[in-house]
């Protein structure tokens, strides 16, 4: 403050300071301005360095600077049978792809490629279409299943063919392809709406389950895709990998099937044009065998990109892609008499002792219903089942009416689909008054009840349903079929049926008589294993009626042959149902097949052996779908 006072006293000094300060500010401001201009000059020099002197270098870098994010397809989980035998697994696949964004001209690239790997016109069109539809940075599959020779040659030539890539990915290999095709199903490229839902599906080599277990358990088997981030150069070659997250392998699946039993069943079916069989574990409901003929090789369907192989199979005679065991709906014929007998006993309209006589024909009003033979008098329920007397069941059905019959049929598992992991099941038909009104807007007629009593008319069932029915009759429990046994609940306790056990016993005895007693309709198919009896019921269902008679070929006019069975008769463990389309009589065509398959099941006793325990599931990183080869 002393100095500041001096400022006011010394009039001479004051202007000096103020002016000096003013000058100093001007000097320094100009200095700062100059420094700022100089530093801007540095920026200008730097920009000149980057944009003029090194511009060409950076332009090159900019072209090269294409970042690519690639999804890594996860390895799909394996499918095994109960013995641990592999039914389906991922195998290495050598593939050829193009990245349209890096091709100078896509057709030219394809031309160059076709000198090494044949590129049919169909594939060519597909590749060009795909290139138009999606981003050019998504690789498009050209060919797969390359030989090592082709693969090596392509890698050598890769610098000369812009946009071309090779990689090793996985393809799906199916074992026991014929017998297992229908149950295991197959994988295929994702459909258009699936791709829209999840872009992962656009990955070449990413296959979704199309049929069978592969379809039902697709989510579990599929796994989680990983990612890889690349920097790629102008030709689409990877300069460096910038980071990745591994894909997670899908879960493994263990089926209740026994591949050996399945093969035996398939072998036995082969002699017929169209036939199917289902074998169930009566206790657990586990499906031990489920075979359908004709069949196909899923390896042919999945491996080739070429869709012609698939079309060929899809259009083949008798439709091999159809799984008759769950999609074939047949009139159950006399096998349905088991249901009618149980329903009649339950309704109290018949009892174990009442006998009827069978003159070979049954009259209802003016209508006449024929029996396949005149059984004569003294037919009780046991004999009626054993000898498959139609008249007895016409009368039983008439007495109780369709509603009661339908209710028991449903209780035995008919007329519905099961949540057992098999997609595309058909429900069959268990008709009643309401069904007919809804379907035809007509009332129910008494004659329709009568023929429903022997499993004809509107009634239809799939072999799987018939097998479930047999298993329920055999066990007295509401068994549900299962294809995948959960490890924590290997032997589920099914609820008891709402039927009198004595009635079930009567019917089971009748079924045992069918196979094991004189005059039984399947006498010739008795088991040859000592002290073990099989119980069963034949069925021969009529296909022709007044309306379609003239339209059908002789083969098509032939009756369907059916047989349901369980064994051992006294302590049931296996239940089976077999349908041979247009096979003739049930006892002649279907029963011997069931006999052989049940014999095999009993000898192997597949159900007793514990199911294969799946070891590690998930966690293992799968192979990388897009592997860049050094070329």
């Amino acid at each position: 403050m002393k100095k500041s006072k001096a400022l006011h006293y010394g009039e001479k000094k004051k202007p000096d300071y103020v002016r000096k300060q003013s000058y100093r500010f001007s000097r320094r401001a100009l200095l700062v301005g100059g420094a700022q201009a100089g530093l801007f000059g540095v920026l200008g020099w730097r920009l000149q360095q980057l944009q003029v002197r090194e511009a060409s270098e950076y332009t090159l870098l900019s072209d090269e600077n294409r970042l690519m994010m690639q999804l890594v397809a996860p390895s799909r989980g394996s499918i095994r049978d109960r013995t641990g035998a592999v039914l389906a697994e991922d195998k290495e696949n050598l593939r050829l792809l193009v990245l349209p964004a890096f091709c100078k001209s896509l057709p030219a690239t394809l031309d160059a490629l076709s000198r090494i790997v044949p590129v049919p016109q169909g594939t060519r069109d597909r590749v060009i279409r795909a290139a138009k539809r999606q981003s050019g940075y998504y690789p498009v599959l050209v060919a797969e299943g390359l030989t090592w020779r082709q693969f090596a040659l392509l890698n050598v030539l890769s610098p000369q063919i812009p946009g071309m890539r090779t990689d090793r990915s996985a393809y799906r290999k199916y074992y026991h392809p014929g017998p297992m095709a229908h149950v295991v199903g197959y994988v295929g490229m994702a459909g258009k709406n699936e791709v829209d839902l999840d872009p992962v599906m656009r990955l070449p080599g990413f296959r979704a389950g199309r049929a069978g277990v592969e379809k039902t358990f697709d989510d579990e088997l599929r796994g989680t895709p990983g990612t890889r981030k690349f920097e790629v150069d102008a030709r689409g070659r990877v300069v460096r990998e910038l980071g990745s997250t591994p894909s997670v392998r899908g879960k493994d699946l263990v089926l209740s099937l026994d591949h050996h039993l399945q093969s035996v069943a398939q072998d036995r079916l082969k002699e017929h044009r169209v036939a199917s069989i289902v074998v169930l574990d009566v206790v657990t409901g586990g499906i031990l065998a489920l075979a359908s003929t004709p069949t196909f090789d899923p390896n042919e369907v999945v491996f080739k990109v070429d869709p012609t192989a698939w079309t060929k199979i899809a259009r083949a005679q008798d439709q091999p892609l159809q799984n008759r065991a769950i999609r074939g709906q047949y009139p159950p014929g006399s096998t349905f008499k088991v249901v009618t007998a149980l329903a009649g006993l339950h309704a109290g309209v018949i009892n174990a002792h009442e006998t009827m006589s069978c003159p070979g024909v049954y009259a209802l009003g003016r209508a006449r219903f024929r029996c396949w033979k005149a059984h004569g008098g003294g037919i009780n329920v046991h004999e009626a089942i054993k000898q498959s007397c139609d008249v007895y069941f016409y009368e039983t059905a008439k007495r109780m009416g369709i509603e009661h019959l339908a209710a028991v049929a449903r209780h035995l598992g008919l007329g519905r689909t099961y949540d057992c992991g098999l997609p595309g099941q058909k429900p069959g038909i268990i008709p009643d008054e309401a069904w007919k009104r809804a379907k035809f807007m007509e009332p129910w007629y008494g004659g329709e009840t009568v023929i429903a009593g022997i499993g004809q008319g509107f009634v239809s069932s799939t072999p799987l349903q018939l097998a479930v029915m047999a298993a329920r009759v055999a066990s007295g429990r509401a068994v549900m079929p299962k294809l995948v046994l959960s490890p924590d609940d290997p032997a589920p306790e099914w609820p008891l049926l709402q039927l009198d056990p004595r009635h079930l016993e009567i019917v089971r005895n009748g079924m045992s008589g069918v196979v094991n007693e004189p005059h039984g309709t399947a006498r010739r198919s008795a088991l040859e294993i000592p002290n073990v009896l099989m119980a069963g019921k034949t069925g021969t269902s009529q296909v022709v009626n007044a309306r379609n008679e003239h339209k059908l070929s002789p083969y098509e006019r032939e009756t369907h042959a059916l047989f349901i069975a369980f064994a051992p008769a006294d302590k049931p463990r296996y239940a089976a149902a077999c349908v041979v389309e247009h096979g003739g009589g049930g006892s002649r065509a279907a029963a011997p097949i069931v006999k052989d398959v049940i014999t095999e099941a009993l000898l192997r006793d597949a159900a007793r052996s514990p199911a294969f325990a799946s070891s590690g599931s998930g966690a293992v990183p799968g192979p990388i779908a897009i592997v860049e080869d050094g070329g």
């Binding site: 401001a29 700062v32 540095v42 920009l47 003029v52 900019s62 970042l67």
Partner: protein, 384 residues
């Protein structure tokens, strides 16, 4: 001189006079720079006003209103209000670690949602005003004394430390640059600057130890971007590639592949200059830099024409701020200095930096309007 003091009370200017005194060409220059920024934001969005360019226009308008309000206000208010404003900003900055909102790993914001703001932005203006106020008060003959250095060093040091705590290295550096620049303009002896440089060189290794790992990493990857091409070095590398590939004349408006293909990080904020020079080339980049330089020259001449130390230093300080922002940002995106997250003023998308700069320019114009005003010692008050 006596006459000048006598005239001072009569220097109250009415609005019409102020409008006439306003530096309109400077305002046009600012608007031109903002328009360049809006065009760049339009291009970054792939040729759309949404989501950035449209909002930037609104922010410019709000900023313009604030600019006029400040430019036409009485400079004496600000002289009186400089210290309270500074303390206000200081308290708010001190509160940030306690009540601040965390965003991106650092607490820098105060308030909620749209009303949130960064006290450190307020401090940039407040620091300039407070230091101008101090040197306005300090008698010129005392400027050489070491004890006269203590208040300005505290004014710079306290906010710088608070910024480092946040942690915001860039802002702390900015406070130091602006503060040192103001001290230099005010006439502090060369000797002290020489001593400070020596001290910094000695202290640097110790300061290095105190840096956060991410800050060390930034510096290290700046020296060698290939160290971590995926991480912080990636930004610089991509930015250099984008600028370099622009070449002399650029790839054309809305045709910058690097930016449009999303190779550029923060392309609408800190790296907007990269995108601009990729599309407009060397020529465009030089034009933009020339506009900034012209603005700086305008500010310099406005400062030189002021009679009072306060007005001179306010204009000079805002000029320094503008320069520091532009230089650090452009040097950063061209790989000359480490990435510190400084926006390009008036061009980068972001309300805070836009408003800060517009308010700052408001003070520059205020100083310019009041260029003939001088203060009597009574008007200035004491040290406090």
């Amino acid at each position: 001189m006596k006459m000048l003091f006598a005239q001072a009370p009569a220097q109250k200017l009415d609005l019409a006079k102020k409008l006439l005194l306003l530096n309109w060409p400077f305002l046009a220059l600012i608007t031109a720079i903002v328009l360049v920024g809006i065009a760049a934001l339009y291009s970054v969005a792939g040729g759309a006003f949404e989501p950035w360019a449209g909002r930037q226009v609104i922010r410019y308008c709000v900023g313009l209103a604030l600019l006029f309000a400040i430019a036409f206000s009485d400079i004496r208010w600000w002289l009186k209000g400089a210290y309270p404003l500074f303390f206000c900003a200081l308290v708010l900055m001190a509160l940030v670690p306690l009540i601040g909102v965390e965003s991106g790993g650092a607490r820098r914001w105060i308030g909620v949602g749209e009303l949130s703001f960064q006290p450190s932005e307020m401090m940039k203006i407040a620091l300039v005003l407070a230091m101008a106020r101090y040197y306005q008060w300090l008698p010129p003959e005392k400027i050489w004394r070491p004890d006269a250095l203590i208040p300005p060093l505290l004014m710079i040091g306290l906010p710088a430390i608070l910024a480092l705590v946040q942690p915001d290295l860039g802002t702390a550096a900015l406070f130091a640059i602006i503060g040192a620049g103001l001290m230099f303009l005010a006439g502090v002896s060369w000797f002290y600057f020489g001593a400070a440089i020596v001290a910094v060189v000695v202290a640097l290794p110790h300061a290095w130890e105190k840096l956060h790992d991410y800050q060390k990493e930034r510096v290290l990857t700046f020296i060698d971007p290939e160290r971590d091409p995926l991480g912080s070095g990636y930004h610089i590398l991509q930015s250099k590639i984008a600028i370099g590939s622009g070449g002399l004349t650029g790839k054309g408006f809305m045709h910058g592949t690097q930016a449009q293909l999303n190779f550029l990080p923060e392309k609408h904020t800190d790296f907007i200059f990269t995108m601009f020079s990729e599309e407009m080339g060397f020529v465009g980049a030089m034009v933009l830099l020339a506009l900034y330089l012209l603005a700086l020259v305008f500010i310099l001449f406005m400062a030189l024409r002021c009679r009072s130390m306060f007005a001179r230093l306010v204009a000079g300080g805002i000029g320094l701020t503008l320069f520091a922002y532009v230089f650090i940002n452009v040097a950063m995106v061209t790989g000359l200095v480490p990435v510190v997250g400084v926006p390009l003023p008036l061009v980068s998308y972001g309300g805070t930096s836009m408003l800060t700069m517009m308010i700052g320019f408001g003070f520059v114009l205020n100083a310019h309007v009041n260029r003939r005003v001088t203060f009597r010692p009574g008007e200035v008050g004491g040290l406090w």
